[in-house]
C-alpha cells in the first residue's frame, strides 16, 4: 500500500518511510485496520485448511448473505451498548416479528386482498418495521422512564417475545410466504444481477470519492491540517478497489448460468450500514447517544433529553430487528417461533468484536458490521473444514474474549501515548 502510493507522489524529504508513519498520515482507524488484517488471516487460513474451498465466489457470496441478518442488528446493538445499555431480547423479538409478519401475509392479507397480491410485501414490511419500533420503544420506555435496568427489561423481553411468538404461531411453522417478500431474503432470484451490481459499485465509488473530496475541501476552507494528497488518493483507490472487487466476485457467481450479483440482503445490509453510520456520526441524536455513554450526568447537564434519547435507541434497535426478521423469514420462506434462538449472543458478539466497549461510549457501526463478518467467516470456515458445532462455539468464544482483550490493550496504549 505504502509502496504504490509513494511512487505516485514521493513524500518531500523522502528518506525512511515506516509503516507507522504511513498509518498516521492516512489517519485510518487502527482498530478497523486490525480487523481487516484479522479477516484476511482468517480467510487465507481457512482457504488453505479447506483445500481451496473458502475463497471461491460461491462461498464468499453465501458468507455475505449469512452475515447480513447479524450485521443489520449489530449496527443497532452498537448504539444500545454505547449508551450503556444492553438488549438481550433481539433474538426473541426477531421470532415474534417474523411470525407475526408471516401470519399477516399468509392468513390475513391473502384472505383480504388475495394470495401473492403485489402490495402484500409492502404492507408486511411496513408492519414489521412499525412493530419493531413499538416493541423496542416500549422496552426503551421501561428502561429510561421507569428506570428498570436494560439487562432486566430485555431479559424479560427475551422470555416474553419468545412466548408471544409461540402464541401467535400456535407452535406451528408458518409457510409459504408471499412471492415478492421472499426476494428480500436473497436466493437465486433475490439478487440484483451483474449489470445492476456494477452500477451500485460505481455509484458507491463515486460516493466515496465525493466524501473524501468534500471533507478535504471543508478542512482546507477552515485552514485545518489535511492528510497528504498521496494518502488521500491511496485511500480512495483502496476503498474503490475493494468495492469493485466485491462486485466482481458477486457477479462472477453464476450457479444457474445467470450471474447473481449482489443479493438483496447484502444490499439491505449496505444501506443499513450507511444510514446507521450517518445517524451515529452526523446527527445530533447520534452525538447525544455517545455523550450519554461517556458521561450520563454531563449529557443531562448539557440539556440533552437523555430519557427520550435512550427510548429512541431501543426503538431504533427494534426497527433493525424487524429488518433482520424480514431477511430471515424471507430467506427461509417460513417463520417459526424458534427463529433467532440465541441470536442476541451473536449480535452482541459482533458488536464487541467490532470494537464496541461494554463500558459504554465507544463503538463504531462499520466496526460492528466487520465484526459480524469476522464471526460469520469463522463459523462458515469451520463448517467448510468439517469442525462440528461444539468446536465452532469453542473457537467463537475464544475469539470474542480475545477481541475484547485486544481492545482494552489498544485503548490503554493510545491513552498513554497521548498523555505523555
Amino acid at each position: 500500500m505504502g509502496d504504490t502510493t509513494l511512487k505516485q507522489d514521493p513524500a518531500p524529504g523522502g528518506g525512511a518511510f515506516s509503516l507507522a508513519d504511513t498509518i498516521r498520515a492516512v489517519e485510518v482507524d487502527l482498530r478497523i485496520l486490525g480487523m481487516l488484517v484479522a479477516l484476511a488471516v482468517i480467510w487465507l487460513g481457512f482457504h488453505i485448511a479447506s483445500g481451496g474451498l473458502f475463497l471461491t465466489p460461491r462461498n464468499l457470496w453465501n458468507l455475505s448473505v449469512q452475515t447480513s441478518t447479524v450485521g443489520v442488528m449489530a449496527t443497532g446493538m452498537v448504539l444500545v451498548i454505547v449508551s450503556r445499555n444492553i438488549d438481550l431480547s433481539v433474538g426473541s423479538m426477531l421470532a415474534f416479528i417474523g411470525v407475526a409478519t408471516a401470519v399477516l401475509q399468509k392468513n390475513i392479507l391473502s384472505d383480504i386482498i388475495g394470495f401473492d397480491h403485489p402490495a402484500i410485501w409492502i404492507i408486511a414490511v411496513g408492519f414489521a418495521l412499525i412493530m419493531g419500533a413499538i416493541l423496542g420503544g416500549f422496552q426503551g420506555w421501561v428502561v429510561s422512564y421507569i428506570g428498570v435496568p436494560s439487562f432486566i427489561v430485555t431479559l424479560g423481553g427475551l422470555l416474553v417475545w419468545r412466548g408471544a411468538s409461540w402464541q401467535v404461531a400456535s407452535g406451528q411453522t408458518v409457510a409459504p410466504l408471499d412471492g415478492i417478500f421472499r426476494l428480500l431474503g436473497g436466493g437465486s432470484r433475490g439478487s440484483i444481477g451483474a449489470t445492476l451490481s456494477w452500477i451500485v459499485g460505481i455509484v458507491a465509488c463515486v460516493g466515496i470519492i465525493l466524501l473524501l473530496v468534500n471533507k478535504r475541501r471543508q478542512r482546507h476552507q477552515y485552514g485545518f491540517p489535511v492528510r497528504p494528497l498521496w494518502a488521500e488518493i491511496g485511500l480512495g483507490v483502496i476503498a474503490c478497489s475493494a468495492v469493485l472487487g466485491a462486485v466482481a466476485i458477486a457477479s462472477s457467481y453464476a450457479p444457474l448460468d445467470r450471474a447473481l450479483g449482489i443479493s438483496n440482503p447484502v444490499l439491505i445490509l449496505i444501506g443499513v450500514t450507511v444510514i446507521m453510520t450517518f445517524i451515529a456520526t452526523r446527527t445530533r441524536f447520534g452525538r447525544s447517544v455517545y455523550a450519554i455513554g461517556g458521561n450520563p450526568e454531563a449529557a443531562e447537564l448539557a440539556g440533552i433529553n437523555t430519557r427520550r434519547t435512550i427510548l429512541l435507541v431501543f426503538a431504533l434497535m427494534g426497527v433493525l430487528v424487524a429488518v433482520g426478521a424480514v431477511i430471515q423469514t424471507a430467506r427461509l420462506n417460513a417463520a417459526t417461533s424458534a427463529l433467532g434462538t440465541a441470536l442476541e449472543l451473536s449480535v452482541i458478539a459482533a458488536a464487541v468484536i467490532g470494537g464496541t466497549s461494554l463500558a459504554g461510549g465507544v463503538g463504531s457501526i462499520p466496526g460492528a458490521v466487520l465484526g459480524a463478518l469476522v464471526l460469520q467467516s469463522l463459523i462458515s470456515g469451520m463448517v467448510l473444514i468439517g469442525a462440528d458445532a461444539p468446536v465452532q462455539r469453542l473457537v467463537v468464544g475464544v475469539v470474542l474474549v480475545f477481541a475484547a482483550a485486544i481492545d482494552v490493550f489498544y485503548r490503554k496504549r493510545t491513552e498513554r501515548l497521548v498523555a505523555t
Binding site: 445530533r284 447537564l301 448539557a302 497521548v418
Partner: protein, 264 residues
C-alpha cells in the same frame, strides 16, 4: 462594585432557597443576589451548601422551595436547558465532560452547530473551538482526540470554553481553577475580570481566599446550609472572612481574641 449599579434591579436574586436531601437541609433558606458586572464569591467549608445552592440556578437540581428572580422576573428553572435559555452558564466542579468525545463536541454538546441539511457541522464547531481556545489556552492543540486523553488543566479549559462560548449573562464558576497550574490560573482569573468588564454577573465558588479577594466584589459566606452573611470585600479583612467561614460570626460580632485564635 460601585453603589450606583446596586441601586438597579439585580441580575439574579435567589430568595429563601431551600434544598434538602432526605431530611438533611443542604441549603436552608438562603437569599443572595448578583448585579451585572459583579463577581460574588460564595465561600464556606466542605458541605456548607455552596454547590447545592448554585445548582438550583443551573437547573441541575431544582430547589424544594424559594424563588429565583432574573432581572426582577420570577424564573422557573427546572432543567439545565431552562437555565441556559435564560443565559445562565455553569462551570461545574466535576467539569461535566463526556470523556469519550473530543473537545469541540463537548463544547457544543446539546447545542451542536448544524449545516443547512441539519447534520452536524464538525468543521464549524472545530473552528469555533479553535478560536475560543486561542483566547483561553493558546497552547491547547488537541481538538480531535477524546477528552479522556487530555490533562486536568486542558480538561478544565474545555469546561470553561464550553460555558464562556455561549454569551452567558450569568456565569457560575464552581472551583474553576481547581486543576490548574499557576500560569493557567492567572489566565482564568484574567478571564473573570474580562467577563466582568463585559457586564456579565459571576458567582464564583472558591476555596482559595486569595483568589476570592483578588476577584470578588462581594463575598457571601455559608455554613451548614445557612447564609452567615454577605459582605463587601473592601469592608473586611481576610481574617474576618475566615471567622465567618469557621465560626459563622459576622465581622461585627467577632472579637479580636477570636480573630487571634484563628491563627492559633
Amino acid at each position: 462594585m460601585t453603589d450606583a449599579s446596586q441601586d438597579g434591579t439585580p441580575l439574579v436574586e435567589l430568595r429563601d432557597v431551600r434544598v434538602s436531601f432526605g431530611g438533611v437541609h443542604a441549603v436552608d433558606g438562603v437569599t443572595i443576589d448578583l448585579y451585572p458586572g459583579e463577581v460574588v464569591a460564595l465561600v464556606g467549608g466542605n458541605g456548607a451548601g455552596k454547590t447545592t445552592l448554585v445548582r438550583t440556578l443551573s437547573g441541575a437540581h431544582p430547589a424544594d422551595s424559594g424563588e429565583i428572580l432574573i432581572e426582577g422576573k420570577p424564573a422557573d428553572i427546572r432543567t439545565p436547558r431552562d437555565a441556559k435559555d435564560l443565559g445562565v452558564e455553569t462551570i461545574y466542579q466535576t467539569l461535566a465532560l463526556a470523556e469519550n468525545i473530543d473537545a469541540p463536541s463537548n463544547m457544543f454538546l446539546g447545542r451542536e452547530l448544524t449545516t443547512r441539511w441539519r447534520t452536524l457541522d464538525d468543521s464549524a464547531m472545530e473552528s469555533e473551538a479553535r478560536t475560543i481556545m486561542g483566547r483561553l489556552n493558546p497552547r491547547f492543540q488537541n481538538f480531535k482526540i477524546a477528552v479522556a486523553s487530555l490533562s486536568g488543566g486542558q480538561r478544565q479549559s474545555v469546561a470553561i470554553a464550553k460555558a464562556v462560548y455561549f454569551n452567558a449573562r450569568i456565569l457560575i464558576m464552581d472551583e474553576p481553577v481547581a486543576a490548574l497550574g499557576p500560569a493557567e490560573t492567572a489566565q482564568v482569573n484574567e478571564l473573570v475580570l474580562q467577563l466582568k468588564a463585559e457586564g456579565i454577573g459571576i458567582f464564583l465558588i472558591s476555596h482559595d481566599i486569595h483568589d476570592v479577594f483578588d476577584l470578588a466584589d462581594r463575598i457571601s459566606v455559608m455554613l451548614h446550609g445557612r447564609l452567615v452573611g454577605t459582605v463587601n470585600k473592601d469592608d473586611v479583612t481576610m481574617d474576618e472572612v475566615l471567622a465567618m467561614i469557621i465560626m459563622g460570626k459576622l465581622p461585627t460580632e467577632v472579637t479580636d481574641v477570636e480573630l487571634e485564635e484563628l491563627h492559633g
